[in-house]
Structure formats: C-alpha cells, structure tokens
Amino acid sequence: MKLRTLTLGLLSASALALAAHAESITIATVNNGDMVRMQKLTDDFTKANPDIQLNWVTLEENVLRERVTTDIATKGGQYDVMTIGTYEVPIWAKQSWLLPLDKLGDDYDVKDIIPAIAGGLSVDGKLYAAPFYGESSFVMYRKDLMEKAGLKMPDAPTWDFIKQAADKMTDRANGVNGVCLRGKAGWGENMAFLTAMSNSFGARWFDENWKPQFDQPEWKNTLQFYVDLMKADGPEGASSNGFNENLALFQQGKCGMWIDATVAASFVSDPKASKVADKVGYALAPDTGLGKRGNWLWAWSLAVPAGTKKADAAEKFVSWATSKHYAELVASKEGWANVPPGTRTSLYNNPEYQKAAPFAKMTLDSINAADPTHPTVKPVPYVGVQFVAIPEFQGLGTTVGQLFSAALAGQSSVDDALKQAQDAATAAMTEGGYIK
C-alpha cells in the first residue's frame, strides 16, 4: 500500500514537473474553416514538440483586430502568435510591432511561398508573417446559364462582357440574378471589391502626393458602372450583402455570376452545401483593357508579436502551420481539396492537388495577377491592392464604404456619394498630416 502511494506520488510529481516545464503559447485566430481544421490537427505539432502547449483564442474578425491591436500597441504580451492579414503586416512591421521570421527552419523553403503573397508580407526584404492561406478574387459563373444565354465566358473577361452576360442571364421571374456583388458597407466588405474594381478602371485612392482622387472621372466610371450593373442585374437588397450572403445566394442557384474571393470556390463546388456544385466555371476578374484587373490579394497569416516572451516556441509553431508538411498532413487526413490554398507554389505543381481542385490554376493565375506594390494603372504612394496600407484606412475605408453602399441602395446619387467621399478622404488625410 505504502509503495503504491509512493509510486503514485512520484508519478504525480513528475507529471507536475513536466507540466511546469512545458511552455504554453497563445494563438489568436479567426473562425474560418481552415483555421478550425488546423486546431483539430495540432496533435501532430504537440507530439513533435511535447514541451510546447497550445492555447487557442478564436474571435470575430473585427474583435480580433481590435484586441490584437490593443495588445500589441501596449505590449501586453497576451498573444504569442497572431492571425493577421496583408493589411496589418506592412504597417505593424514598420512600427517594430512584429518580429521578423528568420528562424523558420532549414526545410521550410521560404522561396516556395508565392512571390505576390511573400511581397505583401515583407518589409525591406524581411518576412514578418507567414501565409496560412492566401486568396485573390475571380469570377465564378454558372456554366449552364452562360450556355443558355448563348455566350462563352473567356478566361479573361472584360467588364463590358460581364454586363452583357449579366443582362442576358437575369431571369427575375425564376429568381436568377445575373450578377451578385458585395454591397455591405465596410473597408473589408464592399470597399475590398470596389477598390480592386476601381484599379481595373484606372482609378486610385490617392495620387503621388496623397491627394484623394474621388473627384476624378475614373472613380465616377467605376461607381456608375457598379451601381447600374447591380440595379439592372443584381439581387434585391444588395446593399446589405457581404461574402456570406452572396455565398448563400450562389449556392442556392440565385446568381449567374459572382465575383469574390477565390477561397469561395471550395464552398460553391461542395455538393453537400451547393445546389450548383457541378455547374460552376471560373474566370479571371474582369478588366477594361488598361492593364490592371479587378482582383485583390489577401493572405491570412501568422505573425509573432514583438511583446512575446516565447518567440522561439511561437516561431516553431508558425513554421509548422505554414509548412509543406502541414499541407501533406491535411491532405492525408481530409483530402487535397481541403489544403489551405494560395500560399505555396509547390502545391499548385502537385498533380494530386490539381485533380482535387479544378479551380487551382485559376486561383494561382489570379494571385499572380495582383501586385500589391504596384496596384494601380497610375502611380500611387501606397501598398495594397484592395486597401491602402495606412492606419487611417480602416476608418476612412468604412466611411467611404457607407457612402457607396447608400448610393447602391438609391439613398444618394453616385455624384453625391463621390463628393462626400472626396470630402471625407481630404479631411482624414489632412488630419493624418499626409496633406496640408
């Protein structure tokens, strides 16, 4: 009896000692399918690194952004790994809020990261965040409806073609809208789409001297085209539709075309969720022949904040979650179609992935067609395709998004919306000290 007690005591003591020795890192993330999958697969990491425990904090995107900003600005040290996007990385890296990722390991193969994505996550040639999944935007369309309309979608359509096809596909009596586009106000909602679209119309947010450009004809052409297109061929109440609302409409067969994130391809082609899974075709985002397409570039990425006390363990985790090994792990457990897309060139060269994901080539082409460092036809002083990587953009982008959403809803005219956007942008830029 005594021996048993002693053994139990020793065992508990050693367990406690092990637990005390184990380092725990806290990872802040959003509730996206790929992130949730990663949380389920972390046994693979903890088996290889028994001295590191993982704690997850999953938050709504805007709350996450606010929380990590608070924490990082005050060096609170609450998080050791943060999920952030291509908007935050250049700003935060310049503020020295992030640690450069230079210890990702010998077999990590940094050069395998798709150059457009790596460019968006680097400052002065140093990588400050590792992409977990990357996305651009493209056209998803109903092949059957396109055929019925007597048209053939080119691989690289123009906006005029989109308008023509949308007009022909619209069949309101049967609940089919020619085109579904984002209308919900927000810098990451309608403004992501409209900013990318404006690039293809030759517009830009600011000129080289940070003067707002909403009073220029390119913006008028963009917004007028968008509002007219949506009025003629868009769904009812489009001004409150974001990614999720349009996803539901498309999956139910209520959209002829949908221009949105490439990551949506896996949702619309999933037979369990989509009524039109076998009828979807893909094409590059439209252009107007000016040399830029209306597609964006985004990567949910893992970064290590400068305030962490566990930088080594954090970087080890980042390396694991964004490695080739992780892609293989997901493929072995859940199939190649579920591997996080848009980060590594090797994935797109993999024949098994190409077979499992018919949208693979178009996704890669879309990502490669976006250049965050030269996003517009005319030169600009900023980085970012569907955003302007300055701290003021979150607030300003949402304000302008509300004005444009109101124009779509018919509450104001295109001219009024643009005038107010110009005033708001001028005020914000003056306050921020960009212009005098």
Partner: protein, 274 residues
C-alpha cells in the same frame, strides 16, 4: 355595465401584456429556433419552423469545450456579485440612515460613471491590468465586473433601505446593538427581498457583460461571452452555430431567471407603490 368594462379592460391589458412580452422574448426565441436549423436554412430567410437538426450543437461542442467557459461565467458573475454586496450594503446603509449634505451628490456621481463609454477607458484599464499581471485572470475580471456594477447595486440597495423605518434601527440601538449587529441582525433580514433581487440582477448583468470580458481575457478566464464571439466567421456560414452557442450561453441564466422571477419582480417593484 361597469363590471363589463372592467373585464374588457382586463382582457385588453392581458392581451397587450402578452404581445409586449412576446415582442421582447422574440429575438431569444428566434435564436433558439435558428440553432435547430442547418447553416443553409439559417441564412435563407425568415422561417419559424426549423428542420430540427442538432448538428450545430455537436459542432459547437466539438469546436470548443463549453464547460470551461460556463465555469468561468459562474465564478465571475457570482464572485463579482458577492464582492459588490460586501461593499454596497455598508455604503447604502450609511447613505440611507446617516445622510449628509453631499449624499445625493455622491450617489449622482457614482451613477455618472455608468454614463461614460467603456471604450474611453480601455487603454488605461488594459495598462493597469498588464502591469499588475491581471490580464486573463479571474480575480482581475471579478474586480472589474464588481466595479462596473457597483453603482447600480448601491443605488438599488439605497432605495430599499430608505423604505425601512429608521425607528426600528433606533430601537435596536436602544437595546444595545452594535453597528455590525444592527446591520447583520436587524437591517439585512428586513431587506432580504431587496438584497436578493439586487443580487439576481447583478448576476444577470455580470453574466451578460461582453465588453470587458472579451477584451481582458484570452483563455484562462474567458467566460461564455468569449465562447459566443468565437463562432462568427468572415468567410463561411455561421448563423446556426452562432445561435447554438448563444442558446447554450443564455440557457443557465434564463433558467435561473425563470425560477427566481418572483423575487426579481418583487424586488424590482419594491417601494414602487405607496
């Protein structure tokens, strides 16, 4: 005739009360209904009859363990309430029974702190929590929740205590009761309905508090508010899962409210009719 009118009035009043109650309860009811829909059904539009699937519940449970968050909610709401009562009972006693010229001003000042938007003090509070090592700790959050609800607790108790005749306390004093005896053996038993309803209301307020509980916690002290907020997704359908998480989060407090509604109503209307 007069009798008929009274009955008619009664019927109208009852119907109106039911309609108002239903309107107030409807968002909760619809959340519960949505939790039994599939994600596709949930986003399709307004429908009162769900398909009855429980897949959202299993997914929510599989994704994050409910119990840990639940336990934190219980500890934080009960802990902060007990702490608030310990401070508020003596404070309300002194203001009710030995008021000074400035008592009203102090009460108003306390209430005015509730008028300030919480976000205005986010950074100072965050820095204090960081420097004292209280971030993501139950102790820190218990104190925080106690502080934000304290003005309401003091106000409610002050209102109840004012209804108790001061002569009874004087009589106790004449019989030789000390200050503490007076509070514990005379005042408290008489104010039990008031204290109980204050306690219940404070537990509900602390349970539902979502600004500080989300911003000052990460994993160890995160309560059910953090649990709910983790189910909203920027890319992917989530209404059904979010509704299931919300239903799980509000169920305990709803059940508690149901069983204690008598005390709650009695406490809240205490002194309303003279």
């Amino acid at each position: 005739m007069a009798r008929a009118v009274t009955t008619q009035h009664k019927t109208i009043a009852t119907a109106a009360a039911w309609i108002v109650a239903l309107l107030i309860f409807f968002p909760i009811l619809y959340t519960i209904i949505t939790s039994f829909k599939s994600e596709q059904e949930a986003i399709q539009g307004f429908a009162l009859i769900p398909s009855g699937t429980t897949e959202s519940y299993s997914e929510v449970q599989a994704q994050s363990g409910y119990f840990k968050f639940f336990l934190n909610s219980v500890i934080l709401s009960v802990g902060s309430t007990v702490l608030a009562l310990l401070i508020a009972v003596p404070a309300a006693w002194s203001m009710a029974f030995s008021p000074t010229k400035r008592t009203k001003d102090i009460l108003m000042w306390m209430l005015s702190t509730k008028m300030m938007p919480a976000v205005a003090v986010l950074f100072p509070i965050y820095l204090i929590f960081r420097d004292t090592g209280l971030l993501d700790s139950r102790i820190g959050l218990t104190v925080m929740l106690m502080l934000i609800n304290l003005p309401i607790v003091v106000w409610m108790l002050y209102t109840y205590f004012r209804e108790i005749p001061g002569e009874i306390l004087e009589a106790a004093r004449m019989d030789g009761a000390s200050l503490w005896n007076e509070i514990i053996y005379v005042l408290t038993p008489m104010a039990v309905p008031g204290i109980a309803s204050t306690m219940l209301l404070n537990i509900i307020l602390a349970w539902n508090e979502a600004f500080w509980t989300i911003r000052l916690t990460t994993t160890d002290a995160a309560p059910l508010t953090a649990f709910i907020s983790s189910f909203s997704s920027p890319q992917g359908l989530f209404w059904a899962k979010l509704s299931a998480a919300s239903t799980l989060a509000i169920a305990p407090i709803l059940i508690m409210g149901w069983f204690s509604q008598k005390q709650l109503v009695r406490g809240l209307t205490f002194g309303a009719v003279k």
